[in-house]
């Protein structure tokens, strides 16, 4: 593929041309472009293999306090003009948003180097070769491999009539595998900015090994068990906290477990969670969808509620002249408010092995499936274990077990965290997480496999 469409001058040039044409009091332009490739495999062969070139423009036009948003998935001149006209038309029809304080002014953006030319040019054969390597290893253990290899390259520019000019380009790569050996399965994954960052051998070793060890899972009853959660399992819980609790909208409306509790203890001492796009393991967007620089935000500090993330609108409607933290979503998702995008959970001083060794009787959980809210304000979640659940006896993995359903308040469960691994991993969903031991984790149901 070529990477001309990711060019800074090209995207910011388009943005300038839209701003020059606009008749609105204030105008914001968000441009995104890129190519995504995803090779998907199951039962040891590639069954879906897709690529896409995409581009979009989103224009927010502001007249007084009237706001109009229009979006198109095309960057040709006619589409840009039509989209601007539509945004202006909507702004003229939309009632004023009284607590809107205006589009943000420019801030100093610290660049993040997250583009790898080789990843942007990855061929279908290179992705397929990774699949072949995994399939070969799976077949040696009479296993079947499923999963994906993904490479992406994209660029984003944000400009507004108050002087914001922001540009970023990035690549990403991901390798996920679920290997099945008989009635056992094992999950492993690796993510990075570049294809070369991926721990391909580690994913193959862990996925195939865990599947082989998961054969013949034994039945287990629901109940309260000590658990050692691997990073992927921790990530799916933390993602949900981010969705429901760490954004200013839910916080302001009293719908977050953080509402009214800044400075108060909300969970265990072991838990510190920050959002930081600049962390080397995250390499997120250096600015948000309003072009505001992303700040590092401490959300929970040793169990104490420390803060939530804001966009300019939510910051402006809170007393005390609060500033945006640079966590605006795309304008079409404005009704959801601001969200953290680069969560990091602090690690501890243990290894995964020592967390298991410190568990007399309990469960090792590889990952959770279909996690969803039961009660958002108490952060009560439910979900299933999958792809590698093991019984721990006297500090050692004894045997695989069938999957269980948990129903548990995550913030209450985190109070019972008594061990974190030094090792942290960026997992599906984007959070960087350690392994975590929790005492008395509540499993409310069981299944048949």
């Amino acid at each position: 593929m070529t990477t001309d469409h990711l060019n800074k001058d090209y995207l910011l040039g388009l943005a300038e041309s839209i701003l020059a044409l606009s008749e609105a009091d204030q105008t914001e332009v968000v441009l995104m472009t890129g190519e995504d490739y995803l090779t998907r495999f199951s039962k040891n062969h590639i069954h879906q293999n897709v690529g896409s070139r995409h581009a979009s423009v989103t224009i927010r036009a502001v007249t007084g306090k009237q706001i109009g948003v229009a979006q198109a998935e095309s960057l040709d001149e006619a589409s840009l003009r039509d989209t601007l006209a539509k945004a202006q038309e909507i702004a003229g029809l939309c009632p004023p948003v009284e607590d809107f304080k205006g589009l943000p002014k420019p801030g100093r953006i610290r660049p993040i180097e997250a583009f790898d030319e080789a990843t942007a040019r990855t061929s279908p054969e290179e992705r397929a070769r990774i699949v072949v390597e995994l399939v070969t290893a799976a077949k040696r253990r009479r296993g079947e491999a499923a999963g994906l290899v993904q490479t992406q390259a994209g660029a984003m520019a944000v400009a507004n009539s108050r002087g914001v000019r922001a540009y970023h380009r990035m690549t990403g790569a991901q390798f996920q595998s679920v290997v099945t050996c008989g009635d056992g399965s094992g999950y492993a994954e690796s993510q990075g900015t570049a294809l070369g960052d991926l721990d391909v051998r580690g994913v193959i070793r862990d996925g195939v090994g865990k599947a082989a060890r998961s054969r013949k899972p034994q039945p287990i009853e629901a109940g309260d068990y000590d658990v050692v959660l691997e990073p992927a399992a921790v990530g799916s819980l933390v993602d949900m906290l981010g969705y429901s609790g760490f954004g200013a909208k839910a916080f302001q409306e009293g719908r977050s477990f953080m509402s009214g509790k800044i400075g108060q203890k909300v969970t265990g001492d072991a838990i510190t969670i920050v959002d930081n796009a600049h962390d080397a393991r995250q390499k997120g967007l250096p600015f948000d969808f309003e072009g505001v620089p992303r700040k590092r935000v401490k959300l929970i500090d040793r169990g104490v509620a420390a803060g939530v993330v804001y966009d300019s609108y939510l910051a402006g409607r809170e007393a005390g002249r609060r500033a945006s933290t640079g966590h605006a979503l795309p304008p079409k998702y404005a009704s959801y408010g601001a969200m953290p995008m680069n969560l990091l959970v602090s690690g501890g001083d243990q290894s995964l092995r020592s967390l298991i060794a410190g568990t007399e009787r309990g469960l090792l959980v590889t990952r959770f499936h279909y996690v969803n809210f039961v009660e958002p304000v108490r952060a009560v979640l439910t979900g299933m274990t999958r792809d590698g659940t093991f019984w721990i006896e006297n500090g050692k993995i004894a045997h695989p077990v069938r999957n269980l359903r948990f129903t548990e308040s995550v913030i209450a469960a985190f109070e019972r965290c008594d061990g974190l691994s030094r090792m942290r991993r960026r997992v599906e969903g984007g959070a960087v997480c350690p392994a975590m031991r929790i005492r008395g984790f509540r499993f409310s149901g069981k299944t048949e496999f």
Partner: protein, 479 residues
């Protein structure tokens, strides 16, 4: 677009593909969200592009682009072929497609009022009034929603199919969220998660009459704050339409997708307990449980003329008098069970490859009204409007929460209960069904957020249901 589609087919043939198809898709979406009397989202979104799918050396390749131009179409065809050739590096058995008669036809959603022609001011007036009618302590979030989508698709294949469709969808709803003393309670109308949706025009949104329901929605949201917690235990449960629709969706709709059964989704969404040996053998539910996958039912959110392989829309029996009799399939998967495609392959946009997706997976009505059913229930719960859902990766163990429950004592509705949840295992649950209401209670619910696939795809699907009763259900799983 038809000449570009024919041109793409020619390039595919020149590249020597065993099979190829192209979809040109133009989409338009208007999305309005009002919160506490203020417009939070008002967007107009347009999208146009095409996707090319080819079979080369017995393996699939797909590529798509937003640049609709002849040179780009040729480039994308070549890219799709290169991707397919790479897929073939791991191919075991070559893909074989079920024979179908190549279709040439058109389909347009029937509707009375084009939702995009209705003035914005008319929509905003209704939405703002409904939101304002729900405002005031302890309601922290008084929301109203409207959404309209138009999808124009041109499909052509190397088999000779050429199909043009225009699908129009409209929907919306209201929700009141109340907060007090660490409790949060929500009531929605006509369904949770932004309302209800159909293939229809603006008349569908008008018929909802959201403003007329706003006061009730607010009242119930507030009342739930002081309602008792729903007690735990084995109970008789009646599920109203919105919740039953999601129950059908998760515990029937997904497991009958033949691609899941064959492992094609196993690493992500999961597979299915409905292994091939269960076809025509498994007693999925009680004899009252009759289910069809019907892409032809008027107004269903999963209603269309042709799927994205150019196969005509169909009504496929899934469960007949409780027995499992059919899957939803595609041209690739149907021959593996000796059947023809059930016409359920759909892609969420031009940039995605088609997958087997639910159409309208409908529980057929039996007899009686909801009032009759309540009167016939000595001791139980009526649960309404989904709030929480989760199911395992083979679609066996599920857990749902609803916005509200009412006690039923001696055939009469009693007090309101908060935070109701129930859990079960799919075949046990459906076999415990001992009543389904009749045609007068049967209603279509649109699910506009059905996730599947990598890269992710969100499908718009439907479920027709009438309230139903289930015995010995495990209610309440929370501390």
């Amino acid at each position: 677009m038809e000449h570009l589609a024919q041109q793409a087919v020619e390039w595919m043939k020149r590249c020597g593909v065993a099979y190829g198809d192209v979809r040109f898709v133009a989409e338009r979406e208007q999305d309005i969200a009002v919160s506490n009397g203020t417009v939070q989202t008002l967007t107009d979104e347009r999208s146009c592009g095409f996707g090319v799918r080819v079979l080369v050396n017995g393996a699939w390749g797909f590529h798509s682009s937003c640049e609709v131009a002849e040179a780009e179409i040729e480039r994308v065809v070549r890219q799709a072929c290169a991707i397919a050739a790479a897929s073939a590096l791991t191919a075991s058995e070559p893909v074989r497609l079920a024979e179908v008669e190549p279709c040439r036809g058109q389909y347009t959603t029937p509707y009375e009022k084009d939702p995009f022609e209705v003035p914005l001011a008319t929509k905003l007036e209704t939405l703002i009034a409904a939101s304002r009618a729900m405002m005031g302590e302890p309601v922290v979030l008084a929301q109203s929603f409207f959404k309209a989508c138009e999808t124009v698709k041109t499909f052509a294949s190397t088999d000779g199919a050429l199909v043009r469709q225009r699908i129009v969808e409209t929907g919306g709803g209201i929700a009141a969220t109340s907060v007090r003393d660490g409790q949060m309670q929500v009531r929605s109308y006509p369904n949770s998660f932004r309302g209800n949706f159909a293939t229809a025009g603006y008349e569908y949104f008008e018929q909802m009459a959201v403003l007329s329901q706003a006061e009730r929605v607010r009242r119930e949201s507030v009342a739930l704050l002081s309602a008792p917690q729903c007690p735990s235990g084995r109970r008789t449960v009646i599920l109203e339409g919105g919740q039953l629709a999601l129950q059908v969706h998760e515990s029937i709709g997904h497991p009958i997708e033949l691609d899941r059964v064959l492992g094609m989704e196993s690493a992500y969404a999961g597979d299915s307990f409905l292994t091939l040996d269960k076809l025509d053998r498994l007693q999925y539910g009680s004899p009252l449980v009759n289910v069809v996958a019907d892409a032809t039912v008027p107004g269903g959110l999963g209603t269309f003329g042709y799927d994205d392989e150019g196969v005509p829309a169909q009504r496929t029996p899934i469960i007949a008098e409780g027995r499992f009799v059919g899957y939803m399939s595609s041209r690739e998967t149907a021959p593996l069970i000796g059947r023809t495609s059930s016409g359920t392959m759909r892609a969420s946009s031009w940039s995605r490859t088609p997958l087997i997706r639910m159409t309208n997976v409908n529980l057929l009505p039996q007899q009686g009204t909801l009032d009759d059913l309540i009167a016939d229930t000595d001791d139980g719960l009526l649960m309404a409007t989904n709030r929480s859902w989760s199911i395992d990766n083979k679609r066996l163990n599920f857990q749902f929460g609803t916005e509200v429950a009412w006690e039923i004592k001696k055939g009469k509705l009693g007090q309101l209960l908060r935070n109701p949840t129930y859990t079960g295992v799919t075949p046990e649950f459906w076999n415990s069904c001992d009543a389904v209401c009749g045609p007068s209670e049967w209603k279509l619910f649109g699910t506009p957020n059905c996730g599947k696939g990598q890269p992710s795809q969100t499908a718009h699907v439907g479920h027709g249901v009438a309230p139903a009763r289930f015995r010995n259900v495990e209610v309440g799983v929370m501390k």
